[in-house]
């Protein structure tokens, strides 16, 4: 059995966007590390992927779906979900960015629940396409879900895979674009304008679903409705807000990098306490 399909024992706990966000804030503060905005941005997407119907790590050893966090700098959101699912050891998430830990800023495949090490952008979709192609060749019904960032769509290598997947009708490949409009040094529209992003994917032969990336019900419904027989691969253009859930971070470029001060940390936690889910 390939390494990536190893069996993982699960002691499940509800993976909610709020719990993911709380862990992101707590652990990034403890570690004094940034990339908070882009982790908060995908909390709802990760929660839905782990909680609703997708056969992700720990749920079915042989034919489970594979998940590639191509935007590896959101790893803390993924660690939070793995923690809540009981795939990480109980205290392991608290080793985030500690010397000697396996939980770095970007995810490494040596960690249970991580299939592919990522961090360098423009690589993950091809990994996912390889998995999707392997599924077809072997007749085993697993799928590949790849979460990419909108700025990652600047990478030419991503579009190489976009063309391949459409040509080979890899419907079991699902890309999710975290379309938060923010990249390292500014707004995507000011750096390299991606508009109209959905049209670009559509023109390359993908089935495009433009959705609210902060609406778990819509995410869940869209994922549940995907056709996975031979046909166009699917992309969810998930419109999101970087820093979502923490008022002073939302849409602010600085939270791509900055760690939290004590005051802002307290305020962020307070806001999350008061939030709905």
């Amino acid at each position: 059995m390939p390494e990536s399909a190893r069996k993982i024992t699960v002691s499940s706990q509800a993976v909610t966007p709020r719990k993911i966000r709380q862990i992101i804030i707590e652990e990034s503060k403890r570690a004094n590390v940034g990339h908070i905005g882009s982790a908060l941005s995908v909390a709802d997407i990760i929660a839905v992927l782990f909680e609703h119907g997708l056969r992700l790590p720990g749920t079915d050893a042989s034919d489970r779906d594979r998940f590639v966090l191509s935007k590896g700098h959101s790893a803390l959101a993924l660690y939070a979900a793995l923690h809540l699912k009981g795939i990480l050891q109980p205290d392991q998430v608290q080793t985030y960015c500690c010397d000697g830990s396996l939980l770095g800023v970007h995810p490494e495949h040596q960690l249970d629940g991580i299939d592919f090490s990522t961090g360098s952008l423009g690589h993950g979709l091809a990994f996912g396409a390889g998995v999707a192609l392997a599924s077809r060749l072997s007749g085993r019904p697993y799928r590949a879900f790849v979460l990419v960032s909108d700025a990652e769509c600047n990478e030419g290598s991503l579009w190489e895979t976009v063309m391949f997947a459409a040509h080979h009708k890899l419907a079991n490949l699902v890309a999710i674009v975290d379309n938060n409009g923010q990249q390292a040094l500014g707004k995507t529209k000011d750096v390299i304008d991606l508009h109209p992003l959905g049209e670009k994917w559509r023109a390359f032969g993908w089935k495009v679903h433009e959705i609210d990336g902060h609406n778990p019900a819509e995410l869940r419904q869209t994922l549940a409705g995907l056709e996975t027989a031979d046909g166009p691969p699917n992309v969810l253009i998930a419109n999101t807000i970087s820093g979502k859930g923490v008022s002073f971070m939302e849409g602010k470029v600085e939270w791509h990098y900055l760690p939290l001060s004590d005051d802002l940390y307290a305020q962020a936690l307070k806001e999350l306490e008061a939030s709905e889910s």
Partner: protein
């Protein structure tokens, strides 16, 4: 070596369903034997080498053994970061076949000349690096290594009609193969240029110099023990490679000599000049870069004069 590799792979694939072949739109009249025998296991991914390596990574992580094929420059450099972060980082059995080492794509120009592929391959821990000297050895190398657990880079030549005298298709990972014995000087050679090294040893022989010619076809794992043993025997070793002198075979031998404290001299024959726009076929470019049989034999004579006993 191209057809030899295709033929070996086609045969291995008959009994091993994990074998896949991917090409980035190259291999006309080379890959057909495989694609016709195993049509569902052959993919032309288009002109997209980075994607090809990424796909191969995902396939290998799912239990397959994908071979990816391109011209050596594109195979090694275009997807280099994908190779590093994919099969090397994940320790997966992706096989990268780079065709046309050195000046084999002569008239095609510098974009097609692979002069640093071995250097960049050799610095990646966990990447096996194999560079056969003729098509029989290429076939043997493919067969001997197809089941290795980690990634492999094969630098193979284009010609399938040349057999290096004395080699007999021998290949052993991490070892060298002596193809001509002699006591006066050691020539260590890698790849298709071995044909010129043999001719050079003929020229030297007529001058009364008996060269030992040994083929290095496994750069990683490096044939450390074999080379160390030879360095103890020969005070002068001349390395010959169709590659920049930095980082390839000559560098490897110099490293082994220095690390083992072996006394003696290493003279490196290889490309030392910056890329130029001069057009030429392989023979012309070998001549220009001091890699013709005549140039190699001259280098050996000069090195013996300078460093010899």
């Amino acid at each position: 070596m191209r057809l030899a590799c295709t033929r070996a792979l086609t045969e291995i694939a008959r009994s091993d369903p994990r074998i896949l072949l991917l090409t980035a739109d190259l291999g006309f009249m080379v890959l057909e034997e495989f694609s016709e025998a195993h049509p569902t296991r052959f993919f032309n991914v288009g002109v997209a080498e980075a994607n090809m390596i990424g796909l191969a990574t995902g396939l290998a992580a799912s239990g397959y053994v994908p071979y990816v094929y391109s011209i050596a420059t594109f195979a090694s450099m275009r997807g280099y970061e994908q190779i590093r972060n994919g099969p090397i980082l994940h320790k997966l059995p992706v096989r990268i076949i780079g065709v046309g080492g050195g000046f084999e794509y002569g008239h095609a120009g510098i974009t097609h000349h692979a002069l640093e592929d071995l250097t960049i391959a050799r610095v990646q821990p966990g990447l096996t690096v194999v560079a056969p000297a003729d098509h029989e050895q290429a076939s043997a190398a493919i067969r001997a290594t197809y089941d290795l657990p980690g990634p492999i880079y094969y630098r193979i030549g284009k010609r399938d009609d040349y057999v290096l005298p004395g080699l007999g298709g021998r290949f052993r990972l991490g070892r060298i193969e002596t193809v001509r014995d002699g006591d006066d000087v050691l020539i260590l050679v890698l790849g298709s240029i071995a044909a010129e090294a043999i001719k050079a040893s003929d020229i030297l022989s007529r001058k009364g110099i008996q060269a030992n010619v040994s083929v290095v076809s496994s750069l990683r794992p490096a044939p450390v023990e074999d080379i160390h043993r030879m360095l103890k025997r020969f005070p002068l070793v001349v390395t010959v490679e169709e590659h920049y002198v930095d980082g390839g075979l000559g560098s490897l031998v110099a490293e082994i000599a220095a690390e083992n404290g072996t006394c003696g001299r290493v003279f490196r024959c290889g490309v030392r000049t910056p890329p130029s726009a001069t057009c030429g076929g392989e023979a012309c470019l070998r001549e220009v870069n001091g890699l013709s049989a005549r140039s190699i034999s001259d280098s050996v004579v000069n090195a013996l004069k300078e460093f010899g006993e």
